[in-house]
């Protein structure tokens, strides 16, 4: 079975107004082949907005790795490459 991937969207104020609001229905916007193995959840605030080195808002975490300036398409790309890494690991 494919390993599951967890995507956590920051729902804090700063992320929300800078595009995070578009990421809330990410679960429905994922392509069908990814939808079945991705769990999307929210976090009240990832706390990254307070760290000037963390990059641009909004923030999303994919299996714990931070993706800055996230959009639907950049999250999908990141989830795809995460899936590839996991699948390669499973084959080896």
């Amino acid at each position: 079975m494919d390993k599951r991937i967890r995507v956590t969207v920051c729902c804090g104020t700063a992320c929300y107004v800078l595009g995070g609001s578009d990421l809330l229905d990410l679960g429905e916007k994922l392509p069908p082949e990814l939808r079945s193995r991705v769990d999307v959840d929210g976090e009240p605030c990832l706390g990254l907005c307070k760290d000037s080195k963390a990059g641009a808002r909004p923030f999303v975490k994919i299996d714990g790795a931070v993706l800055q300036g996230a959009s639907i398409s950049s999250v999908i790309d990141a989830v795809r490459s995460r899936a590839e890494i996991l699948d390669r690991g499973a084959l080896a």
Binding site: T13, L18, G20, D25, D41, P44, C45, G47
Partner: protein
């Protein structure tokens, strides 16, 4: 009666086809003494003319009572001030004034409205009243008035409120509802209305003033076949244990006080709201609990809410509170947004209005990310939004509000 909270609620339905109510209900609470004065007036006719008469009357009645002017004098003054109706040749608007002094002493003055109902222990009970007479004075250039209207007969009642008493007063749109129908050719009457209120209290003994007023108006509207034949208004005053609500928003200025914020939430007796992502996380950390964001409600006007054990509602901070402030500013008291509260801001509004005594604990640590000039829209300073909300809750909804900064 010390410690009882005086909840004031009212609801209103315009006569069909009218854009404004012909009845006016106003109320004020003196924060220093706790005195609460409410006035209901039904203006002659309907629509704008009635609205102006009723607003004038209710406002003058309220101010007169607040100033300590003898009520007969106030009544005379009102009648002299009101414009004379061209057809009926009289100036006329009814009023009911309920004056609650500290310690629960109640004075009620009524003119022309159905007499109030007092519910004690869920049962309607009679209260003594006496008549006050006020002469309608002949003003310069005024028409002679018929003998029957030359003397104003005011009903005056005075009693000591007991805990959980309810005082209900209403316009004749309530008592005459159903008029002309087969079941009640003259309307279901004051007695019919009072009986129904008693049933409502039997079904739900803890019903809030606001909800009882809303249900009463709804019952009258049903009897009018959902098309109000007159303006229907109902005011309810309920003496009860204050319902407490805590709203914690913002992390403490000094990080060393995070544990205190957690303790405030833990120890508060009443309902609890946490507004703010960082705040929710710090309380969760302090109390060893988890916060779960609810991504299923997709009303995007405000960020999603969350749940945490021991807390009734968890929301985002500034955007949500901004929505709460504007909703409270714009809506009429008797209304309800919808049965399906669609977003966390609506849920906060509902919880605020269902509470009497509200304590805001505002952490003043600034989130520097919010000060970034590239942020779209206006992210206000937290304590200013809270002060705005507190002022509306006090002035418009007569809530008892405190704000503590940490």
């Amino acid at each position: 009666m010390i410690g009882a909270f005086v909840e004031v609620g009212y609801a209103q339905e315009n006569k069909r086809g009218q854009r404004v109510p012909g009845d006016t209900f106003i109320s004020q609470r003196d924060p220093a003494t706790g005195r609460v004065i409410s006035a209901l007036s039904d203006g002659l006719g309907s629509g704008i003319k009635a609205n102006v008469l009723a607003t004038l009357t209710a406002t003058m009645a309220l101010k007169g009572v607040a100033d300590g002017t003898p009520i007969e004098k106030t009544a005379q003054l009102i009648m002299r001030t009101l414009p004379v109706c061209r057809e009926r040749k009289i100036s006329y608007a009814t009023f009911s004034i309920v004056d609650i002094l500290s310690q629960g002493k109640v004075r009620i003055i009524e003119y022309g409205n159905p007499s109030f109902a007092l519910f004690r222990g869920g049962e309607s009970c009679k209260s003594e009243h006496r008549e006050l007479l006020a002469q309608r004075r002949k003003g310069r250039g005024r028409q002679e008035v018929p003998e029957s209207l030359a003397t104003l007969r005011l009903q005056y009642s005075e009693f000591q409120a007991a805990p959980f008493d309810r005082v209900v007063f209403f316009s004749d749109g309530v008592s005459q509802a159903g008029m002309g129908g087969r079941a009640h050719p003259f309307g279901w009457g004051r007695d019919g209305a009072v009986e129904r209120m008693q049933e409502i209290l039997g079904e739900n003994p803890g019903v809030s003033a606001r909800e009882l007023a809303r249900l009463t108006v709804q019952e009258a509207l049903i009897r009018d076949g959902y098309s109000a034949k007159d303006d229907i208004s109902c005011g309810v005053i309920y003496f009860r244990e204050p319902r407490q609500l805590l709203v914690l928003t913002g992390p403490p200025f000094d990080k060393g006080r995070d544990s205190e914020a957690g303790r405030i939430v833990e120890e508060f007796k009443g309902r609890k709201i946490i507004a703010g992502g960082t705040t929710a996380n710090l309380v969760a950390r302090e109390l060893g609990r988890s916060v779960v964001v609810d991504l299923h409600r997709l009303d995007k006007s405000v960020p999603p809410g969350a749940t945490m054990e021991g807390v009734d509602l968890v929301t985002e901070g500034i955007i949500t509170l901004g929505h709460v402030a504007s909703t409270l500013e714009s809506r009429a008291d008797g209304s309800r947004s919808s049965l399906l509260l669609s977003n966390p801001a609506d849920q906060v509004v509902e919880m605020l209005l269902e509470s009497d005594s509200i304590r805001f604990v505002v952490g003043t640590r600034i989130n520097e990310a919010h000060q970034d000039p590239s942020m779209p829209g206006d992210l206000e300073i937290r304590r200013n939004v809270v002060k705005r909300i507190a002022r509306i809750l006090e002035d418009k909804y007569l809530k008892d509000v405190t704000i503590d900064l940490i």
